[in-house]
Symmetry: C2
Subunit: 345 residues, 2 copies
């Protein structure tokens, strides 16, 4: 059956366009029966410098018409902190209700790890994407005076927590180990923590085959470096998820390999896939950025669209490439070519 | 000159009393000219089970009369999450204005690390202790219904941020590398983040000899495992500090070695010193808990009281003991005896 994929592409800044290029190369190579049409959107630091715009409403509405979005990376040192994060990246996650922020970690042969003895590592973090301390519900009084007070409000709802917890249980149920680790800090953040905790308990009753474990976020960072093989599926809030996924990336190959999906499981709007790394202005234009994270994000995109075979082919290609790449540096396009060759053979 | 130290001791639960015992043993051994008188306070899970009390006001006032407090660990699985944390530990930190939560990390010979190649690690985290998401300023509506909403408010003030930032700069100034890393997430938590950031910039002008570096908390966890030797002094908020210090402990010997001080640098109330680890109910009563973290916390206590020589003797004893302890397990009291012998010789 032929499928048309109507893809919006936001290459962004820095190495963003370089890695997206390879991601699309591999996507083209892997799809035999499906057709991809891409529309590029110029968003990010360049556009902001030129026009002061981050995400005009008209562009948001155009993006909404697509099946999925592939994003490279946005930002440069000239944009004030928070402008593109709040005005573009988070705005997309919130507008399109990306309540599942999906971030897998694996250590396979060839993956570098700073750990002396990591064991077998293969887990996925289900990070909540539309609530918590990320909602932008805060403010400041008497800014710049000795009497300044600046607040940030973490907002958590039964609706928002339940849907992401349910998604995590479903994923745990589908994996061989069927284990869910819930991470929070419910001994200090008692209100949000107890809502999360009660929800995990209640939803868990519907998944008797899934073993549930709890860790405070501080303890979770310890286990992430002393015993990462204990993790299978992790579910946590937006901020704790941000932190634990970067640490997870660090122990499993670095952010050069870390893929992510901002997923709306209900498919009421397009999901967005992007590497975890940033625009890396220090290496832009040299053609040396590793596109693997973007290529793996394309696999997450295909999975989301139901093209599981194509996704698996990409994941296998990445695993094989990692095992054989050795330590000689390769150029961005060489890695992309190698992966494209593997998926089409 | 003879100094009288009027010490309040909260042994607590689980292994708390076991490790505090050794801490006091080493304290007695190290002090030649100073005299210590200790008063024990029964606080923690046992008292809560017996009386429902966490920290009665009268006890709080008695504690206030002491020069310092030494705490072992509190808690057991029978106490609901949050009761002792909010009702005792955090209550003490807030009541006594422990705005500097001090947590040093070092890798010296004999210290185990899960990292393959950590490099030279010797840094201290200055964690804010009286503001941020820990203030207990949150609440929930419609609890237990599908319409529940649970909020947590992070409160940050110019007053509170400036004093801890100033303390961190002072410490950085006094160390050979003179480097301060400020950790936050100011691209998302813009109000709190920008207050912190402006404060670090402004106070930094008074310390031109100190190099200042910034990391988002997520990136900081990456560097903590890929390049921990880059850190000298870290300053951060209460929650980020909680997370990064557990990770710091994990890479530098585990929480069995991690010491901490809840410090009021203005000395308007007693500071409190405690190991970072918990009450470890799984190994209680076996005499196998490592008291090193408590002994190192005693060194922080002595430093705070101006007894720098005694503190250095303890730190040297710990370093020497670590280098020679090997992998044969020793009992809690054996380690305490060995450290006591070293400091008094
Ligand atoms: C850029 C920033 C807003 C973002 C986040 O904090 O979610 C990034 O760190 C990530 O993890 O995708
Ligand atoms: C027990 C808990 C309240 C505490 C904290 O979160 O500060 C602990 O984790 C610590 O780091 O001292």
């Amino acid at each position: 059956m032929t499928q048309n994929i109507n893809l919006a592409v936001i290459p962004g800044d820095g190495i963003g366009p370089e890695v997206v290029n390879e991601g699309l190369k591999v996507l083209d190579a892997v799809l035999a029966d499906a057709k991809v049409s891409t529309t590029e959107y110029d968003l990010g630091a360049r556009r902001w410098h030129a026009t002061g715009e981050t995400l005009p409403d008209t562009v948001l509405e155009e993006l909404r018409g697509h099946d999925a979005i592939l994003l490279g990376a946005v930002g440069d040192p000239g944009v004030p902190s928070g402008v593109l994060e709040r005005g573009l990246l988070l705005k997309l996650r919130f507008a399109f209700d990306h309540y599942v922020n999906l971030r897998p970690s694996r250590i396979v042969p060839g993956v570098e790890t700073p750990l002396a003895d990591p064991g077998e590592v293969d887990f996925v973090v289900v990070r909540e994407g539309t609530e918590g301390p990320y909602v932008g519900n805060g403010g400041a009084l008497r800014v710049g005076t000795p009497y300044e007070i600046a607040n940030e409000v973490s907002v958590n709802t039964a609706f928002g927590v339940e849907r992401v917890v349910r998604d995590a249980f479903r994923r745990a149920q589908d994996r061989p180990r069927r284990k869910l680790t819930f991470i929070h800090k419910h001994n200090v953040l008692v209100h949000a923590g107890h809502l999360w905790r009660r929800t995990v308990e209640r939803v868990g009753e519907e998944y008797p085959g899934v073993t549930v474990d709890y860790l405070h976020i501080d303890a979770a960072t310890i286990f992430m470096v002393t015993d990462p093989s204990r993790f299978d599926v992790i579910v946590t809030d937006n901020l704790f998820g941000d932190i634990i996924t970067d640490l997870a990336a660090a122990i499993s190959g670095g952010i050069g390999l870390a893929a992510s999906g901002n997923v709306n499981p209900d498919r009421t709007s397009p999901s967005m896939f992007e590497p975890v790394h940033g625009s890396a202005p220090d290496i832009v234009g040299q053609g040396i950025a590793d596109p693997t994270a973007t290529v793996s994000s394309v696999a997450l995109l295909l999975e989301h669209l139901g093209l599981d075979d194509a996704a698996a082919r990409i994941n296998d290609a990445v695993t094989a490439d990692l095992a054989e790449r050795g330590s000689a540096p390769r150029r961005t396009s060489e890695i992309g070519d190698a992966l494209a060759a593997r998926v089409s053979s």
